[in-house]
């Protein structure tokens, strides 16, 4: 048994989701190797070698990985896939983009959003927005998995001493080119890695009010900011803040839902949070059915009051 984890990184450091994926790989049994495919990514490869439980880091370095294009990253994984029984990606936007390409080329099924490893071939994964949990068994020789990070504790980022092997790089597919990106710069923790998340819903009423009411609370708590689908669709918050079935899946220590009614698809993204607080003036809002602490109040009054009380 040998496992390959595809690292998510920014060429300098390893992203947190990689650590949860390593834990899932360890649970599959056998050696754990990590592939760092990047551009000038020696620092990231070094960081990967420190992760506890990793025995080897495979480093592929080239300009063709500068923007993690799916065609190129998948080709690099396939170049070494024959050595592994399990290939694991974090179930992030990046991992989900690449992993099915790898599975299809290997002619194997993919197990998406795995939340529990029961044995080397049997896993649990949520279906129907988390309203049911399926126990599934793969008959394929190679198991390709995406790992829901909230299902696994992160491996320790230090303490390991894996060797780093540099490998030959595949050729650019030439079919896809990066044109640009708009990445919001802020000092807040990443949504999926945050210990505290403050989320706003449609009740905020406008982008201005969203910023005016939610931001001070997030600042005070050192929290990441999230939003319901309704708030994102209405343009109150950026797309990548969406928490829910088809957005980000989060499980922070504290989730504060402000003016969010609690549609099934939103609950699917946050119901594994340790403590949930709901502030909503509608006593019938479904969010109260999952909240540890419900405050039935006008958020425009209660949230500023909460900021002052903290």
């Amino acid at each position: 048994m040998s496992n390959l984890v595809i690292a998510e990184h920014d060429n300098v450091s390893i992203k947190g989701a990689t650590l949860n994926t390593v834990t899932a790989a360890v649970a599959c049994g056998g050696d754990v190797h990590v592939l760092v495919a990047g551009h000038n990514a020696s620092a990231a490869a070094q960081a990967a070698s420190q992760i506890a439980g990793v025995s080897k880091v495979i480093h592929a370095d080239s300009e063709v990985f500068a923007h993690a294009l799916a065609e190129n990253v998948a080709a690099q994984v396939l170049a070494i896939a024959g050595n592994y029984t399990h290939i694991l990606f974090p179930a992030t936007a990046g991992g989900k983009n690449v992993s099915p390409r790898v599975a299809a080329k290997l002619d194997v099924a993919q197990l998406s959003d795995v939340t529990l490893v029961l044995s080397a071939d049997t896993f649990e994964r949520p279906i129907y927005a988390g309203n049911a949990i399926a126990t599934v068994q793969s008959k394929d020789a190679t198991k390709v998995l995406t790992v829901r990070t909230t299902g696994f504790d992160p491996a320790a980022a230090s303490g390991g001493s894996a060797s780093v092997e540099t490998i030959a790089v595949i050729a650019d597919s030439g079919k896809s080119a990066f044109k640009g990106s708009e990445i919001a710069k802020n000092d807040r923790p990443e949504l999926t890695a945050a210990k505290i998340i403050v989320s706003g819903g449609r009740a905020l009423g406008s982008a201005e009010k969203f910023a005016e009411v939610i931001t001070p609370l997030a600042d005070k708590l050192g929290a990441a900011m999230g939003a319901s689908r309704a708030a994102v669709d209405a343009g109150y918050a950026p797309n990548d803040w969406q928490v829910g079935q088809t957005g980000k899946i989060v499980a922070p220590q504290l989730y504060v839902a402000c003016g969010i009614s609690g549609a099934i698809q939103h609950l699917a993204g946050m119901k594994d949070s340790k403590v949930i607080v709901a502030i909503n003036k509608d006593p019938e809002a479904p969010i109260f059915s999952v909240a540890d602490y419900g405050l039935e109040a006008d958020l425009f009054v209660a949230v500023p009051e909460l900021v002052n009380a903290l």
Partner: protein, 249 residues
């Protein structure tokens, strides 16, 4: 240029599914079925590209049981020109669907294949990427904007932390995210018109594809229930609970 739009028939997004008491699956007898919402966005986008003059024909495809015809009629009511049903009662998994679609791509030679990023029943998020790999095509997943510029597809993608713009050679596979467009309401005249549009049916054998499942579902169970907590009367008691009971701040 033709655009191929695969659509999936799924349990309607408003239905809260129940796990069967024998643990063999979820109960979908007598529940409302609809087109997967992401696929509806895909159909709308393809029809808009045709209306803008970039495409000449929009072909909707569905793989599954006979009733998928209804889903295809809906796609044609939105504006797809014709439809193909690959009919089977087999439990189709994403790899099998991707293989069926690959066979249809070979047959129809579309310039673009636009489909939803994930289906809201199995939540897999695989089929588009698998099709792209099998057909050796470039992909742009999680699209929030699609343009055709100088014979290439320029796609804005929703990624972690923001947006990214890719320019990909066509033919290409694009998967849709929520903010790509808002699908139009289907009107009665268009529903009537859709009934007269061409719908061809194939079997997986006709396309030479083995669709047998690779993954066995051993059990389906209810998720652990999260019980409702308490209502607090005011902000002060909320702060007290968070600090002294849960100790999370």
């Amino acid at each position: 240029m033709k655009i191929l739009v695969p659509v999936k028939r799924v349990v309607d997004y408003n239905v809260k599914v129940r796990v069967k008491s024998d643990g063999t699956g979820v109960d979908i007898a007598n529940v409302k079925m609809s087109m997967n919402p992401f696929d509806e966005i895909a159909v709308e986008e393809a029809v808009r590209l045709k209306e803008k003059g970039f495409a000449t024909e929009v072909i909707a495809v569905s793989c599954g049981v006979t009733q998928c015809q209804e889903t295809l009629r809906t796609a044609m009511a939105i504006g797809a020109d014709r439809a193909i049903l690959v009919e089977t009662t087999e439990d189709l998994q994403p790899l099998a669907v991707a293989k069926l679609l690959k066979a249809l791509v070979d047959k129809e030679q579309p310039g673009l294949i636009i489909l939803g990023k994930q289906a809201i029943d199995d939540d897999c998020n695989q089929t588009g990427q698998m099709l792209a790999a099998l057909a050796d095509l470039p992909q742009a997943t999680f699209a929030s904007k699609v343009e055709v510029v100088d014979g290439k597809a320029q796609v804005t993608r929703e990624i972690d932390g923001g947006l990214e713009i890719l320019s990909i050679n066509m033919p290409a596979v694009i998967t849709t995210d929520l903010r790509l467009n808002e699908p139009r309401y289907v009107t009665l005249p268009n529903i009537m018109k859709a009934k007269k549009k061409q719908l061809d049916t194939f079997k997986p054998e006709d396309l030479g594809v083995d669709v047998s499942p690779r993954i066995t579902t051993l059990k389906v169970s209810e998720p652990p229930k999260r019980s409702a907590g308490i209502k607090v009367p005011d902000v002060a008691s909320l702060v007290d609970k968070l600090k002294n009971v849960s100790k999370v701040i």
